[in-house]
């Protein structure tokens, strides 16, 4: 589903954020990406969602070679990649419902279908009763769940999460991770960047370890 071959990202300043990274994530797999801050986790996710382009090597996502994607095609690629951010990035002048509906509105769904899918997604993250609230009235954990509902509402085959539990306490973090596991169980490929090592370990999934832009570890849980 996601294949990196000798991928390098070098910034104009000469700084190399990623150095010849190789890995392959299979369809329906759930993988953690870990490492210290500045190790290149975020950069790696930004390359997959084409917020930035790699300067070397090849990336294939969902069968598409990213270097061949033109700028006008990027929006359509992103509709297949659900993204979750540490700082949630919700729109505070819109209700929870309207926030979650945004990807569907962008993709041109019709109102009845939008209503049905948004309700389903909010129900899934346990916030159906909050659909008319504004994000500012929600707790950090609830805001993150709204962010997750927004990422999954148009059923993308791939989910990317960048430090989704960064600001949350351990109990809430565990709940959020449980949500990701549930999505993975219905066939979604999930890639989560996180430095919550003990939590990752306790969950028992494949983990990629980055250090100063190099992939130094690819560990599978011992069965």
């Amino acid at each position: 589903m996601i294949t990196f071959t000798e991928v390098t990202k070098r910034y104009p300043s000469g700084y190399e954020a990623l150095k010849k990274v190789n890995f392959h994530v299979k369809r329906g797999e759930m993988v953690f990406l870990t490492g210290h801050s500045g190790a290149g986790k975020t950069t790696l996710l930004r390359l997959i969602s084409m917020i930035e382009r790699q300067t070397g090597g090849q990336i294939v996502v969902n069968g598409q070679t990213l270097s061949r994607i033109t700028n006008t095609q990027i929006p359509y690629l992103r509709r297949n990649v659900g993204m979750i951010f540490q700082e949630h990035r919700l729109l505070f002048d819109r209700t929870v419902f309207d926030n979650v509906a945004l990807p569907l509105v962008i993709a041109g769904f019709r109102p009845p279908e939008i209503q049905r899918r948004v309700r389903a997604a909010l129900d899934k993250v346990g916030l159906l009763q909050k659909e008319r609230s504004y994000p500012i009235t929600l707790s950090g954990g609830q805001q993150q769940r709204v962010g997750i509902a927004r990422a999954v509402v148009n059923k993308p085959p791939i989910l990317l999460a960048d430090e989704p539990t960064g600001n949350l306490d351990p109990a809430l973090s565990k709940e959020i991770m449980k949500l990701f596991i549930e999505f993975n169980q219905v066939g979604v490929t999930v890639l989560i960047a996180s430095h919550a090592l003990s939590l990752i370990k306790s969950l028992g999934y494949r983990t990629l370890i980055l250090q100063q832009g190099e992939l130094i570890g690819d560990t599978y849980p011992s069965t």
Binding site: S49, P75, M83, L102, P103, I106, G108, P111
Partner: protein, 323 residues
């Protein structure tokens, strides 16, 4: 079986096309209303922008209307344009009559009046108050005069041509075109017309800049939103759309404002103008903006709004890339 299968696929494809068209249409309708609501969120700021646009559009529009009115007035004067032919002294009154009859055959001439030497003298005596002085003179020094009234429908150019041809007649000493100043007025109005066009162009670019700048500020205020929808897979067309509709609304409302300003000020002028016209025994009525001109103002305003927004959006949306 295979045929049925391909048929069902085909109908599915047209269905999704129809679906796409429907959702495209409903997105436009949504944008149309939500961008108007967006303006209402900041009523005072929007009103100020619309007022500035209204004034900018009202200035050339009222100048244009003023010119229309001047043209209307001068058309009335046009019918009073006369050519006076002063005949040579040796031409007898019979010869003058024959000349008048021949000239009357010409199409450009509506009517012709002969003022004989005697009539001219009598008129002069009664009107000038120099009757005693004239008694001293042995001969009547005044020439016979033919007063030509050209047909109303002919243009100033044709008037001029008529004047040129009759002034060259051998019987004519001098010819006077009483309304030569009218031609000068026409020439001046032609200049004014072009001046107004230039002015309208300048104000139109002003409107473009104002709307462009307003939209630019809106774009920066909604930077975070733009970044987020880009991350969620929004195309540039989708992101651009609400801003174009905002531009449309600014321009359209500015057009309405301009229409109100122009018509209110001309309405305010109407009574004194009517009074003045009565003093001149004229039926003249001020022309207001008609429906057509009003439409031009509204559509023109809306068009300028969309173009201004396009200019701003094209430049600034590219700068905003998701972080």
């Amino acid at each position: 079986m295979a045929i049925a299968h391909s048929n069902s696929r085909k109908s599915k494809a047209t269905l999704s096309q129809r679906h796409r068209l429907q959702s495209w249409f409903s997105q436009h309708v949504d944008c149309f209303f939500s961008s108007f609501q967006q303006l209402l969120h900041t009523p005072l700021a929007s009103l100020m922008t619309v007022a500035v646009l209204g004034i900018a559009l009202a200035l050339p529009a009222s100048l244009y209307l003023l010119l229309e009115n001047v043209q209307q007035v001068s058309q009335d004067w046009d019918s009073t344009a006369q050519i006076s032919l002063f005949l040579k002294p040796k031409i007898s009154s019979d010869q003058a009559k024959i000349l008048a009859d021949t000239l009357y055959q010409r199409q450009e001439i509506k009517s012709i009046r002969l003022i004989s030497q005697d009539e001219a003298l009598n008129e002069y005596k009664t009107l000038s108050g120099f009757s005693d002085a004239l008694k001293v003179m042995e001969n009547n020094p005044l020439p016979a005069v033919l007063v030509i009234q050209p047909t109303e429908s002919i243009s100033p150019d044709a008037n001029q041509a008529l004047y040129d041809s009759v002034s060259k007649l051998p019987e004519v000493e001098t010819a006077q075109f009483d309304m030569r100043w009218l031609n000068r007025l026409y020439a001046m109005m032609e200049i004014a017309k072009r001046g107004i066009l230039v002015l309208a162009g300048l104000f139109a670019s002003g409107v473009l800049l104002i709307i462009g700048n307003t939209i630019r500020l809106t774009i920066y205020n909604r930077r975070e939103e733009i970044e987020v929808v880009k991350l969620l897979g929004a195309t540039d067309v989708f992101i651009r759309r609400p801003f174009l509709y905002s531009g449309f609304w600014y321009g359209f409302l500015g057009g309405i404002m301009a229409w109100l300003v122009v018509n209110l000020s001309f309405w305010w002028l109407q009574t004194p103008v009517r009074q003045l016209a009565t003093l001149y025994h004229s039926q003249f009525e001020l022309i207001m903006l008609d429906i057509f001109a009003g439409m031009v103002l509204l559509i023109g305003g809306a068009f300028l709004g969309i173009v201004g927004a396009l200019l701003a959006v094209g430049r600034h949306l590219k700068e905003i890339q998701p972080r």
